[in-house]
């Protein structure tokens, strides 16, 4: 029983805690890095917009490059899967209504799942 007590010194405890934390974090990542982005697109007055195009872009040096496009369904929701970035830019466009400003979302790891609390709001006239 006493044999294990030598493990109770600050070196083992410190590095052990770090190792455990790193392992837990990696475990968390493993379950949450499917690269899913879910959200809704709404019009200027807040009504869901079907058939809007949502563009996910990545920033390369100074310009943003579109990487994926999806279209919203009846309820105005959309799902992007399989992105591999830790910073994504999202923009929704529906030519008849307008466009949402391109917004940056930063993530804690590559391919992190993202559920948008706030819907992308189209602004009339913008493109």
């Amino acid at each position: 029983m006493l044999r294990w007590s030598f493990l109770l010194n600050r070196y083992v405890v410190t590095f052990g805690t770090i190792a455990v934390a790193a392992a837990l974090w990696n475990l968390y990542i493993a379950f949450n890095d499917d690269g899913i982005v879910e959200g809704r697109v709404v019009g200027p007055s807040g009504q869901p917009v079907a058939g809007a195009e949502v563009i996910l872009s990545e920033r390369t040096l100074l310009v943003t490059e579109p990487r994926q496009r999806v279209t919203t369904d009846e309820a105005g929701t959309f799902t992007i899967t399989g992105h591999r970035y830790h910073r994504v830019w999202l923009k929704a466009v529906k030519p008849e209504i307008g466009a949402s400003p391109q917004t940056e979302y930063r993530l804690y790891f590559r391919g992190a799942n993202l559920h948008l609390e706030e819907p992308l709001r189209l602004e009339a006239g913008a493109s």
């Binding site: 600050r10 070196y11 040096l61 100074l62 830790h86 910073r87 930063r106 993530l107 804690y108």
Partner: protein
């Protein structure tokens, strides 16, 4: 020892610590906000702090790979310092002809700046076949003069009677060293660990010269990634500085108790 009131000492130390901490605070603040530090007037408190610059650092360079390299090199350096310096330090506690010259030689070696030795040192490392290797990065730092003297002083402080007694009992030299002297010099070992770690961890120019392979780079070499001229990398640069600093601080905090004691015997028992 002193008759000053405690609050005065606390006040004095608080002022000094504030002065020492201001640059740290600014590095930390900028790493959390990424604001242009050349804007005026400077914002004293961070606005909208976030950790995403640390994420950027992690992905901008192969951080984990560099970290592993840095750790490997530092471990080699630390082990080298502890073992080799202990040996040299022990040798210097004994009397022998040429001792004075050896000490003078060590002292003058301290004064040769590394920058003037780059080319020949590179050629030598090439001859040894150690280019692009962890050992090649570590070797020049594997024995350091200050640390040799720390060991020497620590050994000097061990009562002669103890060693003589062991000798009379017929205990061989190497056993005296490892069974008596080393256990009594924990503080010198701690000192060696901390200093060797700091020096190796922050070493920049030498790895830069001898490493060509991207897979072999150490953390300080990642700095270049954050000093390019076309991108705004201020926040990431400072986040990077913090990330490189943390291990050094951690080692210091862990070994602090022995460290302070180690330098004690190093400095005063001459």
């Amino acid at each position: 020892m002193t008759r000053y009131p405690k609050w005065a000492i606390h006040l004095g130390l608080a002022i000094i610590c504030t002065l020492m901490l201001i640059p740290f605070y600014w590095v930390l603040k900028t790493s959390l906000t990424g604001e242009n530090i050349f804007s005026y007037p400077p914002a004293i408190l961070p606005e909208n702090p976030h950790l995403f610059y640390y994420v950027d650092v992690w992905y901008s360079i192969p951080f984990f790979r560099y970290l592993v390299n840095s750790v490997v090199v530092s471990i080699i350096v630390v082990v080298g310092n502890v073992v080799l310096n202990a040996m040299a330090g022990y040798a210097l506690t004994r009397d022998f002809t040429g001792k004075g010259s050896v000490i003078m030689l060590f002292l003058s070696c301290m004064m040769i700046p590394f920058q003037v030795t780059i080319i020949p040192a590179y050629l030598i490392t090439k001859e040894l076949g150690l280019l692009n290797s962890h050992l090649g990065m570590a070797l020049p730092l594997c024995s350091t003069i200050v640390c040799i003297f720390v060991f020497k002083a620590s050994f000097d402080a061990i009562p002669k009677s103890l060693i003589d007694a062991a000798r009379i009992d017929g205990v061989p030299d190497w056993m005296i060293i490892f069974r008596i002297m080393v256990p009594l010099s924990q503080s010198a070992i701690a000192t060696n660990i901390i200093l060797a770690f700091i020096w190796s961890w922050n070493n920049f120019l030498w790895p830069l010269i001898i490493i060509r392979d991207n897979d072999m780079q150490t953390l300080p070499l990642g700095l270049a990634r954050f000093l390019t001229v076309v991108e705004d990398t201020t926040g990431a640069l400072y986040a990077f500085c913090i990330m490189v600093l943390v291990p050094g601080l951690m080692i210091f905090l862990l070994a602090q108790k022995q460290f302070i004691a180690g330098l004690t015997s190093g400095a005063a028992k001459g």
